[in-house]
Symmetry: C2
């Protein structure tokens, strides 16, 4: 965080928006840094000031997608209401976040592929996973304390499952778009997991 905002955040966003357009239209391999510069209305020098190469733009786009999702999850987690409702809302929000990216879907795998080959980006992804878990774990703990969730649930494992479901549905969706219909599957995923976590009538067997 800089003491006062300068234009660089705005400029970066402007470049990333343009990059999304160019990638979506031309595909990842065909898109050139020069295309992005031209379309953005900024000078080439300005583009290269912020991003040295196409891979850096990919990494920044991935970061932006995760940041948005983390912010929206955090907002859902902080709402009033039962833990189960908030978990379901977080799942639904995540589905909507995915859906809003459907324009990028044909190149989503390219994004991941490029990102995953860079150790630095991979580590960064791991810390974003940690951030997501840091939102979900306390929520599940709260649910166990207030009796909504089964006390046999391990908060960290359950949170990892939730994360895994959405990452996995995203992967399956990218590979086989017809298989995943976010509108119905997103909310159902959240609901089914909540049902699995829910406190059973008279305590738990075993």
């Amino acid at each position: 965080m800089t003491p006062r905002p300068d234009v660089s955040a705005e400029r970066k966003d402007q470049i990333l928006n343009t990059a999304e357009d160019v990638f979506a239209e031309r595909g990842f391999d065909e898109a050139r840094m020069d295309d992005i510069a031209e379309r953005s209305g900024l000078s080439k020098g300005a583009i290269y000031w912020y991003f040295k190469k196409k891979d850096d733009i990919i990494a920044a786009l991935l970061d932006r997608v995760f940041r948005r999702n983390i912010e929206s999850m955090r907002a859902e987690a902080a709402r009033a209401g039962s833990v189960l409702d908030r978990l379901a809302a977080m799942g639904e929000q995540t589905s909507r976040d995915y859906e809003s990216m459907s324009r990028l879907m044909p190149i989503a795998l390219e994004f991941y592929a490029v990102a995953l080959r860079q150790r630095k980006v991979r580590k960064h992804l791991a810390t974003m996973y940690d951030e997501i878990l840091a939102i979900i774990v306390p929520l599940i703990e709260e649910g166990i304390r207030n009796g909504e969730l089964d006390d046999g649930v391990d908060p960290r494992q359950a949170a990892t499952l939730l994360l895994g479901i959405y990452e996995g549905l995203g992967l399956v969706w990218a590979i086989s778009p017809k298989t995943v219909d976010w509108k119905t599957l997103g909310p159902q995923a959240a609901q089914m997991l909540c049902d699995g976590l829910k406190r059973r009538g008279q305590g738990k067997k075993k």
Copy 2:
């Protein structure tokens, strides 16, 4: 299927086993086709007869991993016992399949990244997803018919969720190995999903 087995399946397996060793030791980028030829004890000509390039080996390794998992899921699905038990067993089997590949884990993402950039491999992955769904869907339908599972469950969506969970946990595991402990998380994933699918006491609200 050929009328009678020739040696090519065996040769291919031999090459793939060697390739796993070489990839695991040297990393994906450093491994050379020549290293694989030398180590396998086969002639270079033999290697290139079966696989034109490193990417073809990657695609074949990915195929082999999925084939094995599909076979073991099919075996679990065909067992006697309740649908819930069989679903749980399939989840546990999948976790064991993943664990047995842990040697390949550091390069698993490279595998996926290479595979996903090839449209042909991506389509092949999509058909393997279809095969997995074709095993799980009838099992869930059976569970709904015999009253084990809630009749509000959509078999295809539930099956897609199961697939998504395991693909997703694999992805999270590859990016952040410390986050996923297969020994505990694999069985718990299956259990939690089964709890979510299970028939509720006196029918379902809504």
